[in-house]
């Protein structure tokens, strides 16, 4: 309540009159947490807040002897609103770090402002490749995979599993282009062939017309990338139209992530996806994390909550490394970039562009003890967003979002 009243007051113009409040140095360290609380992305926003709060509670709300104060703000998943909110956090609340961010368009909109202010921004979910590639900056970090990061090893692996010809279907915007692009690149380089790519637009109510247009007779597998309600629709309709069982369905994590898997039910059984996290992972850190998360929120963690948990941990580790002295922005950025720790997903560290280097898994949806889970079936060790390329070579290639229609022959 106190926090809310403060936010309330801060938003009033009058708050500006006392602009010269000097923050009481490092007795309290403030972290802004931005996530969508309203609209279609609200459910992901909730996971993001939960994961972050779980970690903060685990460390008793203290970091390097200072009190850690978390200020949550609603981005409404709108870039314009996100920018205003982050200005509030930085200029009015005087936060030392900002975490969260689900939508890539919001992340892009904040990027320049945060670089100018040089306050560390640790993105928990938004996956836009460019954020930690062409637009990388010393104070911009990301804890979840970049758009095509999990796709690269997966595409090659698919070829090795014996698939030679695939059809691809993904939403017609950047997320879909990046995730399918990564698969298409390594799959075709290995010798495979993409024979068709379909990109249903935003707001497609019904996937039936696309499903029935897929050239499944000529393909060995369907590669699909969808998220949220679209993923539920797609997976259910894939079964309804008799495709399930006749052709394998593979994709990226969002297609069957732990958040929506329960809603997809048995339709999802057998789908193979690539990602860095599922709640079924058998790493040293995951069992305790899943248990604590379930106890606190009465549901399984997702890659959104885990990503946000890791965000909190990265920030905490950096504060500890500096002994709580956050006075030099350059040192704060360096300390963050240097963190390296065990997390629920396994070993975690940043690459030279502040995007994670972590293990990628192929997961298969199975039923275990009555529950549907994403069971790991293959591990690709320590994968970075650049995969086997050098950063320079990689970034010299055209971004996936611009070449989505070039894959299909």
């Amino acid at each position: 309540m106190k926090l809310r009243l403060k936010t309330f007051a801060a938003a009033l113009v009058t708050a500006g009159l006392s602009a010269s409040v000097s923050a009481a140095a490092e007795e309290t360290i403030k972290v802004g947490m931005m996530s969508p609380n309203t609209g279609p992305f609200a459910v992901i926003g909730e996971d993001v807040r939960n994961g972050f709060q779980l970690y903060v509670d685990e460390i008793g709300g203290m970091a390097a002897g200072a009190k850690l104060e978390v200020i949550f703000e609603d981005t409404q998943a709108k870039p314009d609103v996100g920018l205003t909110k982050i200005k509030k956090l930085v200029e009015s609340d005087g936060v030392n770090f900002v975490g969260g961010i689900v939508s890539s368009s919001v992340a892009y909109a904040l990027r320049d402002y945060m670089v100018e202010k040089n306050v560390p921004l640790v993105v928990s979910v938004a996956s836009a490749d460019g954020l930690t590639q062409q637009l990388a900056a010393p104070n911009i970090f990301r804890t979840n995979s970049s758009g095509s990061q999990a796709s690269h090893p997966f595409g090659k692996w698919l070829f090795e599993q014996g698939y030679k010809r695939v059809v691809m279907i993904a939403p017609g915007y950047a997320m879909g282009f990046e995730q399918t692009g990564g698969i298409a690149r390594t799959f075709t380089e290995a010798g495979g062939e993409v024979i068709q790519s379909l990109y249903p637009p935003l707001g497609t109510a019904d996937y039936a017309p696309f499903l029935t247009s897929l050239k499944i007779d000529e393909a060995d597998a369907v590669v699909a990338v969808f998220a949220g309600s679209e993923a539920i629709k797609f997976v259910k309709q894939f079964e309804e139209y008799g495709l399930k069982g006749t052709i394998p369905l593979v994709g990226t994590s969002l297609l069957t992530d732990d958040l929506i898997l329960g809603q997809q039910g048995d339709s999802a059984l057998g789908i193979v996806t690539a990602s860095h996290y599922s709640s079924a992972l058998d790493t040293p850190g995951n069992a305790a994390f899943v248990k604590a998360y379930r106890e606190k929120y009465d549901r399984s963690p997702t890659l959104y909550s885990e990503g946000s948990y890791v965000t909190a941990k990265a920030i905490h580790m950096a504060i500890e490394a500096l002994g709580g002295d956050l006075s030099d922005p350059a040192k704060v950025n360096e300390a963050l970039a240097a963190v390296s720790f065990d997390s629920p997903r396994g070993p975690f560290k940043f690459d030279g562009y502040n995007s994670p280097v972590h293990d990628i898994y192929a997961f298969e949806v199975k039923r275990k003890d009555g529950e549907l889970v994403n069971e790991p079936i293959e591990r690709f060790e320590a994968v970075s967003q650049f995969y086997t390329w050098s950063p320079e070579d990689y970034m010299a290639m055209k971004p996936y979002r611009d070449i989505a229609n070039d894959w299909a022959k």
Binding site: T38, G39, P40, F41, A42, V43, I44, G45, E46, G172, L198, Y199, P200, P201, L202, G203, T204, A205, D206, A208, P209, F210, T212, S213, G228, S229, I232, K233, K236, E240, Y241, G242, L259, I260, Q263, Q264, G265
Partner: protein, 284 residues
């Protein structure tokens, strides 16, 4: 050939779902001149109430009935308490109903959570029909049949019953109906409730086909408006033909020209408004 057969069936199933929503929207407009954006909220609420009933009882038909009844009640309250007060002010109605849409979608998010949900359909409608090497979900066949049945029923009510005659007269001239002694306000209320009930039932039926999730209200109401505009505001026949046209353009158009898929609804809508603002079957 098989491709087109399946796409036509796809188009038909979407069209019938749209018709359930758009028919009410259209008749309500014809009678009361209300542009009700909150009609999408009726669909959303129907889906969610249906979900709650389904989770409690497991009975799909009961879910449809209860959802339709609750949404009808909400619709009638909305009509009496809010929309009627701004009668004659078209922009006022649009903005007020937009406000209602915001409130309902936010409260639904609060109450049912943001997780996209699917409604379990009755067992006998699970699975697919196979004929001539084609594969088509049974549920969609049932939806198509249901859509035609509802269309026929509404047509019979409007063309062959006393209340239907009053409604037809009201669409032509509400003042006259009042003048010959009918309680036109009661007719308004009942028709509004019936339209809301149809949209609520559509929420359950659609929820079992497409899922129910935050934002479904807005998607649906924009499509329904396209249907109503193309068919002609106030015309039941127009709503039916409009549903077919939008259903087909949205499925076949998207399948054939995916690059232009975002334009399959609004471009036909603008074209119709420019060429014939009153729509195919509307009266100017």
């Amino acid at each position: 050939m098989a491709f087109y057969t399946i796409q036509i069936l796809n188009g038909l199933s979407l069209a019938m779902l749209l018709f359930l929503i758009a028919s009410g929207l259209s008749v309500i407009f014809g009678l009361m001149r209300i542009i009700n954006l909150a009609h999408g909220s009726f669909y959303l609420l129907g889906g969610y109430f249906g979900l709650s009933v389904l989770n409690q009882t497991g009975n799909f038909w009961l879910a449809i009935l209860v959802a339709a009844a609750i949404v009808a009640a909400i619709g009638m309250v909305l009509q009496r308490v809010l929309l009627e007060r701004v009668h004659g002010n078209e922009l006022g109605q649009v903005l007020m109903s937009f406000g209602v849409l915001l409130v309902i979608s936010d409260l639904a998010l609060w109450f049912w959570g943001g997780l996209p949900q699917t409604l379990d359909r009755p067992d006998f409608l699970d699975g697919a029909l196979r004929f001539a090497g084609l594969f088509f979900p049974k549920y969609r066949v049932a939806l198509i049949v249901c859509g035609f049945a509802v269309a026929l029923a509404i047509w019979l009510i409007i063309e062959r019953t006393r209340i239907g005659a009053v409604i037809r007269a009201g669409v032509d001239d509400a003042e006259m109906v009042r003048a010959i002694g009918f309680d036109i306000k009661m007719v308004f209320l009942l028709v509004f409730g019936a339209g809301a009930a149809l949209a609520g039932a559509a929420g359950v039926l659609g929820g079992a086909m497409l899922g129910i999730y935050p934002g479904a209200d807005f998607e649906v109401v924009l499509q329904a408006f396209a249907v109503v505009v193309i068919g002609g505001l106030g015309s039941l026949r127009g709503a039916f033909v409009g549903s077919l046209l939008i259903g087909f353009s949205d499925t076949i158009g998207k399948a054939l020209l995916p690059e232009f898929a975002m334009f399959t609804i609004f471009v036909p809508m603008v074209a119709m408004l420019v060429i014939r603002p009153e729509g195919l079957f509307g009266r100017a």
